[in-house]
Each structure stands twice: as structure tokens, then as C-alpha cells.
Amino acid sequence: MSQRIPVKELTDSFRGRAVGALADDQLRTNFRVAMDSLMKKRADAFPDEEEREGLRELGNHIKARALSRVPDLLEQLETRLTANGVKVHWAETTEEANRIVHSIIEAKQGSQVVKGKSMVSEEMEMNDYLAERNIECLESDMGEYIVQLDGEKPSHIIMPAIHKNRFQVSRLFHDKLGVDETEDVNELIQIGRRTLRQKFLEADVGVSGVNFAIAETGTLLLVENEGNGRMSTTAPPVHIAVTGIEKVVENLRDVVPLLSLLTRSALGQPITTYVNMISGPRKADELDGPEEVHLVLLDNGRSGAFADAQLRQTLNCIRCGACMNHCPVYTRVGGHTYGEVYPGPIGKIITPHMVGLHKVPDHPSASSLCGACGEVCPVKIPIPEMLQRLRQENVKSPAEQPKVKDGGAKYSRKERAIWRFWASLNTSPVIYRLFLWGATRFGKLAPKNVGPWTENHSAPVPARRSLHDLAKAHLNQGDR
């Protein structure tokens, strides 16, 4: 792999991080092996193409319908949850969401938080926010626990530590927890489990995410495979759920197909080991469960995506991760290359709404538009179409008023001029044929180094006669 670009200069860019990741053979093997296995699991979980496509269509319709009514559904959700005894909080920014979470913990004089897996809490960087305020926030999902222990961020939305293999985890546990190295995955899990068990009992507050928030019944649905979600939401006296506003769905009937799509697309499971349905705090006659339940609903740029009919489809996402599992770019560069919370194809289309295109200017272009992501998306988000649209917004001049947060990040007079020239060449048949004539006659004189192309390819040499010429001679019928 070419290392010629100045990595130092580019460490803050997608391309720079990609160069580092591509040079890491272990990382690439870890991802390739894991993604291959996940692709197979998904394929096996949907043996019937008709059923799969019908279900995807249904999933798309359910989410589209929910999104079209999202303001009403959110109000209904709040009403139902409040009636069930859950306190609902609204946050427009991650800062606001963190303040809300902190104030709930502070009111309980809490100092220990145990967290089930939640990508929204990653969006908020909740662990750091709370740590700065002397509150320990421990990840209880095994993958999240591993990355937290190593001071890393998740590299996949449902398998946070997928970039590490068991040997790397074994070394990490040895270094950080002082246990003997072991290559036995079960033993490694038991080590994590013993540490976490105690923490569940000690924690003042449990934090979790939400997979579906059901408006009609005021139910928070959470799927997981390790039981840590159930522990985090039931053992501590206070449970705080954090989620994005796009997770609301109309009713429980809608959840059935969505749940099936989610678990089969994600890990190829017919259903997860645990499906938690949380509808309120412990009632007077109940023996267990939290005394308080809170829901924090976060916007963080989602309403920006919502405001545009085309880009709104981004919010269909149910966070299964299938798009990254099938992405040839993600498979090669891994999740950390994206530099943001959500990696892979969904990360490329949702992150710009959250942080603005200026912060992730390469996100829309880091794709060959191969379409593998859109093909597997369980709710049929046309991801390549979203990427193309973001590219449009990314090259707009300020005067053209980009419609995405901090759009126009890639606006360049020079590049615009090149495309103007390209357009005039391709719309003037005489000049185009003159160009063909020149390129085919003098193509051999072209430089042998044509920028990035020749890093991976020999210099392209035009043929000696163009198809225009050959066809004209062959058909012998002049201009037609």
C-alpha cells in the first residue's frame, strides 16, 4: 500500500487514518474474518428471498409512516410514559442531554453508573462528561467493556470490540486486570462477568439505550444478548434510558417485523437472547425493578435530516449494522477510521447531520457507491442515493446555500472549473471528437505519472483510434 501521502498531515482526516488502518494486517484480518462471518449469518437468516424482500418493504413502510407522524408520536409517547410513571426529558444537543443525565444522578447523590450498550450515550460522550464530574460510568456490554478498558471507542455499532481478536483481549485483560492470559473465550467472558456482577449491585444508576420506543403503550424496548441490559435497567434504583427521537414507532404490532429485521440483519439471530420491554418503574406491589425511570430523547441534528424529504430516509435506521458488515470500505479500514461515533455507510450519511460536513468532509466521498449497503438495509434506506446527495451539498458554494449542516465543505473553485470544462467538452460534439483525435494520436506522449491513479495502476494509454473513428469506418455511413 502506498505510504507516500504525508500521514502526519492527514492523521485528522479519513484518508490519513485509512492509510494507518490499511497497513495494520492484524486489524484487516480481524475485520475481514468477522465481516465474512456476519454476512454469512445474515444470508442464512433470510433463506427465502421473497420473505426477506417483503419484510424489508414492510419495515420501510412502518418507519416511513412513523417518521411522517413523528411529532405526534413523540407527544403520545411522552403522555403514555408519563402516565406509566416514567419521566421524559427532551434534549436538543448532546450537552443538554448530558446535563439532564448528570442532574438526575446528582439528585440521587450517585457516584457509580453502570451502562448497558447505548450508541446515543457514545454520541453524548457520556462517560467522559460524567468522569469529569467524579462519577464512574462503567460499560457492562462485554464489547463496550473491552474498548473502555483499553481507552478506545467502539469500532462497530453492535460489536464495539470487533477490531480485536481473543489474543488481543487476553493481553488486555492481563495488563489491565492482572489476570492470567487465556485464549479461551469463555474464560475471558467469565473474567469480565465477575468484575461486572459486583458493579451491577453497587451502582446507583443504570443507563441504557432504546431500540424502539412505542408510542401507543409507552414502552421502551431493548434487545441484547448478554443480560447486561436487563441488569442495568433493573438492578440499580434509578434507570435512565437515552435515545434518539427517530426511535419512536406507533404501536407494538409495528415492532414485530422491525425486531425480526433487526436481529436477523445484525447477527443472523431469529431473536436476541433478551428482549426487554420497559414500561415504568417498580409499582407498589412489585418486589424489584428501579424506583425511578427516566427517558432522555435526543435530537442532535436529527431534525435537520428530517426537514429534507430525501435525507429524512436516513432516520429510518434501526441500527443493525448490516451496512457496515457488507461494506468493502469499512471491512478494509475498520470503524475507527471514520473518526466519529457511527462508522460505515450509516455513519457516512448520519454523522454530517450531527456534527456538520466541515468536520467530516470526506465522509460522503469515502465510498465507491457499490451499493452493497443499500441492498442489505432492512428498512431500505437508499444509502448510495444519500451519499450522492451529500456529495452535492458538499460541493456547493456558500451562495448556493447547502441544505446540510456546514455544507459546502468541499467547495472548490478549481474543481468546479474542471467540471465546467468537462461539461462543455461533453456537450460539444466537435470539440469532443477533436479531443478524442488528439488523445488517440498523442496518447502515448501522456505523462506516466498521473497523480493518485498511478499509485495503484499503470498509466492509462488511450487506444490508437477511438470508438467514434472505428465505428464510423466500420459502419461507413458518416454522421448519423
Binding site: 411529532p71 428530517f306 470526506d362 451499493g371 487506444a463 477511438s466 467514434h468 459502419l475
Partner: protein, 275 residues
């Protein structure tokens, strides 16, 4: 919170388009237009000519309008909508004569059949012509298989080949299925599978120069799996992939090469072996 959504009402939420029904094909026409594509024009003109020969062999008169250039895809995928639309409009005007359009490249055919709708989304009058063009556009292998219903005698020596299908051709035009079926008609040709066959070769138009490291890693993997398939050569119906894969093989100083499916097919059915 709901005031965040004040402008929601005029924006009806989109639902995914209906799944396309299997395409119904017309009877074999007397004449067609060949849209040669800009990559073939400059780098693989012989393959374009072989496509013409294959069509003529089926008794079809082929037109090659000298005013044609590019379908507009490079600008479209780079986000330069206005420039793409200008170029697209020139092709649309040129091809507006009711003749079937045969394209020896899946991604360009996909541009006509799928993306012109998006390019001209805001021009209702043009959209009618776009739909008409979409209806008349056929990728070469699809046209030979389903419209010409070719019945070939394989005149070539026994050989083993690998088939690479461009992603847009695969997902927008089902080219991989058509090409497989066409190759299946050749008695002496065995098609060998290769590892991660459905994965992108890394070309992606301007992606290959915007993200050369990632694109390079992809084409390296693709060329490796093609070589390891045991095939004597690779065939593909897409000029972009061919440029990418052959350019990479040459850079790696490999002897293995790919060529355009049209040239391969012409060689098998005509018995002409070119140097």
C-alpha cells in the same frame, strides 16, 4: 419539541420505490443505437466494435451517432449536478428517436435507466422522455440474451474464465445473471467462481483518485482473487472496472488480464482470434 418539525408537513415522507417487476423484453428490432460510453471510446474501442459486430451478426442494423459523448455519470457521482445534467441532456436529445439503445457497460446503462430520473427530478416534461429512454435502454448482455435470444455455436478452444460484474451493473441491471447465462451458451467455456465475487473492485469513478489507498486495497484484493480462481482470464461487461483491474495488474507486473465480454464473445462465435 414539535416546533423542531415546523416544516414537516409539506415534506411527505418517502417510501422506498416498489420492487421492479421482472423486465419484459420486446421482439428483436431491425435497428438499434449503440451508446459506446466514454471509457470504451478512449480505452477499449475494439470491444465497442465487437459489440457492434455481435449485434450485426443477429441481423440488426447498428447506428453509432457521432455526436455521443458521456452519459454524465462522473459528474453526477461527484455531486456536480448541473454539469451532469447538461451532459445528460445532450445524450437524451441525441437518443430521442425511439430506437432501442444498447450499452456495452452496465453502469452507463444504469445511469440511463435509473439515475436520469434523479438528474431530471425537477423537470416534469423531461421526465417523460427520461422514462421513454429508460424503457428503451438495454445493457449489451441483456439485449443479446433476452431480445436477440442468441443461439451460438462456440468456435473457440476449451477455456476457463472468471466473470467480474460491476456493482452498479449487478444491482441496477442484473448484468451478472445475464452474462452468466450468455457464457453458459458457450459449450467450451467454463466459468470459475472467485473469492468475494460480488465485492466491488474499488473503482467507483472518482473514488479511485479521491481515496487511492482504500481503492488500491480493494483492487489488490480483487486482482488476487481473480488470479487465484484458476481462470485463464477475466471477462467483464464494464469498461470502468476493466480499466481499474487491468491497470492494477499491469502495475503489479502480472500477466493475468481481463478483457471486455463483447470481445470475448465475438472471438468465440466468430472464430476470429485477435492478437
Amino acid at each position: 419539541m414539535s416546533e423542531l418539525f415546523y416544516d414537516a408537513a409539506p415534506n411527505a415522507t418517502r417510501v422506498a420505490p416498489e420492487r421492479p417487476r421482472p423486465r419484459t423484453y420486446p421482439a428483436k428490432p431491425a435497428e438499434v443505437t449503440l451508446f459506446g460510453t466514454c471509457v470504451m471510446d478512449l480505452f477499449f474501442p475494439e470491444a465497442g466494435l465487437d459489440a457492434i459486430r455481435l449485434l450485426e451478426r443477429e441481423g440488426i442494423r447498428v447506428h453509432f451517432p457521432q455526436e455521443q459523448s458521456c452519459c454524465g455519470q462522473p459528474a453526477w457521482t461527484s455531486g456536480y449536478v448541473n454539469e451532469a445534467r447538461e451532459v445528460a441532456r445532450a445524450q437524451l436529445n441525441l437518443l430521442d428517436n425511439g430506437l432501442p439503445v444498447v450499452v456495452p457497460s452496465g453502469s452507463c446503462a444504469g445511469m440511463f435507466r435509473q439515475h436520469y430520473r434523479e438528474v431530471f427530478a425537477e423537470e416534469p416534461d423531461t421526465l417523460e422522455r427520461v422514462e421513454d429512454l429508460a424503457e428503451r435502454t438495454f445493457e449489451l448482455t441483456e439485449f443479446l440474451l433476452h431480445v436477440c435470444k442468441v443461439d451460438w455455436q462456440d468456435l473457440g478452444q476449451p477455456t476457463q474464465i472468471a466473470l467480474h460484474t460491476s456493482c452498479s451493473a449487478r444491482r441496477e441491471m442484473n448484468t451478472h445473471l445475464h452474462a452468466r447465462e450468455l457464457l453458459g451458451k458457450l459449450a467450451n467455456v467454463e466459468r470459475l467462481d472467485h473469492d468475494h465475487e460480488s465485492e466491488c473492485c474499488g473503482f467507483g469513478g472518482t473514488f479511485s483518485v479521491r481515496m487511492p489507498e482504500v481503492s488500491g486495497a480493494m483492487v489488490l484484493d480483487k486482482t488476487r482473487s481473480l488470479r487465484e480462481s484458476g481462470a485463464a482470464e477475466m471477462v467483464t461487461a464494464d469498461g470502468g472496472c476493466l480499466l481499474n483491474i487491468n491497470g492494477s495488474l499491469e502495475k503489479q507486473k502480472q500477466t493475468f488480464r481481463g478483457r471486455h465480454l463483447a470481445s470475448f464473445l465475438w472471438e468465440r462465435v466468430s472464430g476470429e482470434v485477435k492478437s
